[in-house]
Amino acid sequence: MKKQTKAALFGLTLALTSALSMTAFAGDSDKVYRTVDEIKESGTINIGVFSDKSPFGYVDENGDYQGYDVYLGNQIGKDLGVDINYVSTEAANRVEYLKTGKVDIILANFTVTPERAEEVDFALPYMNVALGVVSPDDHVITSLDQIGKDDQVIVISGTTAETYLVKNNPEIKLQKYDAYAEAKTAFENGSGVAWANDNTEVIAFANENPGYTVGIPSLGSNDTIAPAVSKGNDSLLNWLNDEIVSLGKDNFFHKDYEETLLDTYGKDYEDTLVIEGGQPAEASTEAEAAAAETEAATEAE
């Protein structure tokens, strides 16, 4: 018996070390992605979207994917002439899905950041975003200083809000969740004092649910949201960039906004959120430009 245990322990160590060395020497394996031609040939494109992040990516009561991201996804499928297979993704899995080639494109409200750009390739942007913090009306948080030592802020694992707070405000206690639906339900249940996420998302939440206010509408830098493909998939990347530019000529993304986001945000946010044809306004003058545009629009009416 003793001998057997020893042998087993030895084997276990051996198995572990070999697993370790295998992983240590495994370079980046061969190309995991599919080119445009390969996608067309297969007849189906795999697109990673959220399935629980209304109004950007969610599933309606008939089981169909809907939302701002999905609207673009449908157009991409149409223009490529292939069927679309939507893959439900969580925030923390998005990079992984591309790195392992499990999807061709991520269209899951994916904010462009330098860290992510090292792992995946971003196409031209289609939406503006910053971070925001929403809290209940009876205790609105307008500055991060208001968050007490024992208070917990809800974030979703793998989002830019998480990375930002971990980096810049490590003293704030975070309560992390896997999925949007979980985080929102926990927030409704009062499990945290505030919820930090993309400002688009928290504004949508406050607009749709009475009793909540976005106390911090903009935090951190102004970023953009763009489709992402596996690192090195130039053929699909170029195709997507051309697609976004040409869609811009028909004001596609404004149409997308009006179809999917208008109910939630109203007219006011249209020009601040939408990026048409992959051309974001200059970061510094963005707010002014947006304000000017809104004014112009009001005047025109």
């Binding site: 572990l16 240590a24 925030a91 694992s157 992390k176 896997d178 249940n189 009062g190």
Partner: protein, 219 residues
């Protein structure tokens, strides 16, 4: 393999190990207590409580912990019952484990031949005395392998704690992968830390089991 990253993540995994162990063992302790109570209720056929206990055991043995946690943590607050993530983890594990422990104790009791209680009775022991001094010790010793299996099972089940925002080992790995995309390193550390947590329990379990078996057969 990026050893710099491993070094950097190590403290996070250590914290996660402590949290997993703390809530895990609290849950196991609770499971033990619940299981014992349930067994006593069933053994002495206490009316009403007996039916409720059987229902509880069937309900929690036939549903996944993940679903139980979802219900306790996300659904119950909607009807006014709110608890913290840590408490939820412990209670969830305790309720799940209690049902399994009760089953283990029950089969342990069943393994004690009827003649043992009869002999005890013929020696003039009361029912309580027979249970306390004759049946229970034998039942416990034959339950040991089942108990060890339950403990390992429950410690493994902690891997779904991410659902209730508890930073256990699994969630720490997932979270780091989501932030920094060092998948191989994170999964490697995950495996190592689960081994650290569970291998000693498993080995200790086998040793105790062997001892018990030897004791059972007498000199």
């Amino acid at each position: 393999m990026d050893f710099g990253a491993i070094h950097e993540y190590l403290p996070l995994y250590r914290d996660a190990l402590f949290l997993t162990m703390r809530i895990g063992w609290q849950g196991i302790l609770l499971a033990f207590v619940i299981g014992l109570a349930a067994t006593i209720i069933l053994h002495f056929r206490i009316p009403v409580l007996r039916q409720l206990t059987s229902f509880y055991i069937e309900l929690f043995r036939n549903t996944p912990l993940l679903v139980q946690l979802f219900f306790i943590y996300f659904a119950l607050p909607k009807v006014g019952l709110r608890i913290t993530p840590a408490l939820c983890g412990m209670v969830g594990l305790g309720l799940l484990g209690g049902a399994y422990m009760a089953e283990t104790f029950r089969s342990g009791l069943e393994n004690v031949p009827l003649i043992q209680s009869e002999s005890a009775a013929s020696l003039g022991m009361s029912r309580m005395q027979a249970f306390r001094y004759v049946v229970l010790p034998q039942a416990v010793s034959s339950s040991i392998p089942g108990l060890v299996a339950n403990v390992i099972f429950l410690l493994k089940e902690t891997s779904v704690f991410s659902t209730v925002s508890l930073m256990d080992l699994m969630f720490t790995a997932k979270d780091l992968i989501g932030m920094y995309a060092k998948t191989v390193e994170c999964l490697f550390l995950l495996v190592v830390f689960y081994l650290i947590m569970l291998l000693p329990v498993s080995i200790l379990g086998s040793i105790v089991e062997r001892r018990m078996r030897r004791a059972e057969f007498g000199s």
